[in-house]
Amino acid sequence: MKHSLTVDHLFMFFGRRKALEDVSFSLSTGDSLAILGPNGSGKTTLLRILAGLIEPSRGTITFLSGDKPLDRADVRRRLSYIGPELALYDALTAAENLRFFATMRGIAIDDGLIGRILEMVGIGGRGNDYYSAYSSGMKQRLKYAVALLNDPVFLLLDEPSTNLDKDGKMVVSGIVARQKENGILIIATNEKEEYGFAEQQYRIGG
């Protein structure tokens, strides 16, 4: 099934401050877009709007599955977002975090699948460690594990390589390559080495 995402004349104001001005683009399955711009240009705001976490001041966003518009719940099932401000549960282990979010996503998960997902992001064998005991890089990897649970059609990554070492960046490269084949990828970044993750670029905020 081909999916698409259309952003049409999007504006965002925080009080009198304009955070986003007239953002428009359209993507469909197989497309990838890097949103570029200096700090404070509204990249994270744009991703948070696309993820449904905040409402835009003006403009529309349309998610389609084939010709059928997707409602908020449909989008939530098909979308994953990873950003620096996200946190998982400190008092739970990595495996407990994964099991909880899988249940909330409506996905049946067993120990075998948890092990495979943790292996995929390079933290295999650490499933029984508490999230609070993880390093910042391992926390970032576990966020990827949670984001991959629903095999997302729409994957939004904000500063995707934050806190990751060389191996972690390779894990992200693999996830990005897979997403570009099967879904829609949007990355917000300032890092030149991440520009190549996407085929298209969209610059905001000067």
Binding site: A87, A91, F101
Partner: protein, 229 residues
């Protein structure tokens, strides 16, 4: 995309299980609630324990202790999600209704523990005479449901505010006032020789049942707007 294999009950229970596990490992809310309840009860027992007061005073004291103990801990259920920055990923992955039902279950559990701790101590440490245990137990159940129903949605509303504690009490007081008045009036009858049993407290019981049903139904309907708004 993986298919949906878990229903509303499974997801609500997952939220409840997660919150209980986090609470068990951090003792964030239970310590605050129990400490507040037992401290207040001790002060009350020292000041009025040996005096033979009218049943309405004991009834009011009991629910004042429960109300303020609840105020000290029940907001944590949502405040903790905001403070630990886990609310964002919860919003991204979960529908509103199972989140509300799971959190309601968690607050119910905390209040049940509070009632189990406070009720026997209150009856032991004060001169309150329990003349109708069946009515008193029904009131504890209805009071727990009403308090949990109201405070869970209020906790969700105030969780993003900067002065959460004060706002929680300020918002809760007018919403809980009808519940507290009904509870105090009916508990007076449970502590009184001429209470008239369940029949004598029927109007209060109707009020309390209605309050619980309306509060929880309205909260389920409104929670999506509060949670995702």
């Amino acid at each position: 995309m993986p298919s949906n294999s878990t229903g509303l009950a499974d997801r609500s229970l997952a939220v409840l299980r997660k919150d209980v596990l986090c609470e068990f490992r951090t003792r964030y809310a239970i310590n605050a609630i129990l400490l507040f309840g037992i401290t207040t009860l001790t002060v009350v027992s020292f000041s009025v324990g040996q005096k033979n007061l009218p049943p309405e005073v004991y009834a009011a004291l009991y629910w004042v202790i429960i109300f303020f103990s609840a105020m000290s801990g029940l907001a944590h259920v949502f405040v903790r999600e905001e403070e630990s920055k886990t609310s964002t990923i919860l919003k991204l992955t979960a529908d509103a209704t199972p989140v509300y039902l799971g959190k309601l279950g968690y607050n119910l559990l905390l209040l049940i523990l509070l009632q189990i701790a406070i009720a026997p101590l209150f009856l032991t440490l004060t001169d309150a005479v329990l003349t109708d245990p069946a009515l008193f137990i029904i009131l504890l159940i209805l009071g727990t449901v009403g308090l949990a129903g109201a405070t869970t949605i209020i906790a969700a509303i105030i969780s993003k505010a900067s002065v959460k504690g004060a706002l929680f009490a300020v918002l809760s007081f007018p919403i809980l006032l009808p519940l507290l008045i009904g509870l105090i009036s009916a508990t007076t009858k449970a502590f009184s020789e001429s209470g008239g049993g369940l029949g004598g407290a029927s109007s209060e019981l109707q009020l309390l049942v209605s309050y619980g049903v309306v509060m929880i139904t309205a909260s389920i309907m409104l929670f999506e707007y509060v949670w995702e708004g």
